[in-house]
Subunit: 208 residues, 2 copies
DNA sequence: GATATAAAGTGACAATTGTTACATTGGTAC
DNA sequence: GTACCAATGTAACAATTGTCACTTTATATC
């Protein structure tokens, strides 16, 4: 596991990797597991070794608005932020591809900031990249109509899965964009007519 | 200025306040000044001593979507994040009430993280509170219709100005919510009919 | 007071999005 | 094959939001 930690987090110093190895716990979760719920107290900072996670913002009526993916080599910025203050989670995170996670207990997160330059830089960089990603999400919902938002959504998913075949149902997309299935079906049909996608059952092929 | 710094940032240690006093530059800007533009390189971390700032996300077509206020005792999280990597600004910040700012040069921002526990905690707390604020913005545009978003917008402005009389034109609100003036006029009229506000020229009085 | 101007009001209509209700299709289990 | 079910298609309509054109009102200036 040590060598793989070093591979997945190449910026970490050898001492930091050792610290992680001796102190942090590795946990595995299967696809569809909800790792963190809105309102739950966060006791660990989460680093992704393998697999994929989707992070959502929830509302009172059961809406699940998709914000961003977490992939190997990345960390949950929210878990860092909340961990330092022992606050409740503001987000919900769901496994979309079986994951192995490094769970760093709250006090270590803070301690390492002072002791390990590479940890400090990793944390700051995580804040930065997540903040930027969230700002991009704001761009989309503030400035763009649903057709463009859908295209952006599909592109992001294609990037993350590294393929052009998206195994998503219309309902799933609708839920994550907080709209209705009919709207998504309608817009996808238009995209198909424009030659951007080919539609199958539970499968959308991106053509461009 | 030293004593006032300590008053406005009470969590800062005496040594940190001294460091700020000797190293940081104080700058004043008048209302309506744009302090930071999208795409501009950020060379300082900005702390607010007095006055008020509004932070916006811009799009290519001139849209200015309002995100949050910065008030005395607060710092611009984006300027911290960008400063550490010498990155371009992702936001635009405009003075809405004459401000005095402490400009902390980029290298110090980083250095103090290791040397001053109170600085470290301030920075982390700034990240946390801004991230939470941005998530709340996402809630509003992702889950709520324009009428609710307008109410939320007015409430936030009332909180910040500490009064019930908002000196805002319909056009200004429309721009900051990325909609049209007519839509805002329409929704404000409905709010007036519901007894939530009284409308004047360049002035909206909140009744509840 | 007359005039100019920015702000706000308004009605009509278009476009987008949301909702309802139901039909069709593809895949799975029997 | 048949039955069943989830996914998708679709039409009709409602609601919200966006746009256009124009009017009215408040305020400042002359």
């Amino acid at each position: 596991m040590l060598t793989s930690t070093k591979n997945i987090f190449p910026s970490f110093s050898t001492e930091l990797v050792k610290e992680i190895e001796t102190n942090a716990v590795i946990q595995s979760f299967e696809t569809d597991t909800v790792i963190i719920r809105t309102g739950q107290y966060i006791k660990n900072t989460v680093l992704v070794i393998s697999g994929k996670i989707k992070v959502y913002r929830e509302d009172e009526n059961g809406g699940e608005f998709f914000m961003y993916h977490l992939q190997p080599g990345q960390a949950c910025a929210i878990s860092m932020i909340c961990a330092t203050k022992n606050e409740k989670s503001q987000i919900m995170a769901k496994v979309v591809e079986d994951v192995e996670l490094i769970m760093v207990p709250l006090p270590l997160m803070d301690k390492w900031m002072m002791q390990h330059r590479s940890w400090y830089e990793f944390v700051i960089d995580t804040y930065r990249s997540r903040f930027e990603e969230v700002l991009e999400v704001i761009d989309n919902i503030a400035f763009r109509a649903m057709d463009e938002r859908l295209e952006f959504y599909l592109k992001r998913h294609a990037e993350v899965c590294g393929c052009k075949e998206l195994k998503l149902s219309h309902q799933e997309i609708a839920t994550e964009l907080n709209t209705s299935r009919e709207v998504i079906s309608r817009l996808l049909k238009k995209m198909e007519q424009r030659g951007l996608v080919t539609l199958y059952r539970n499968n959308i092929e991106l053509l461009k």
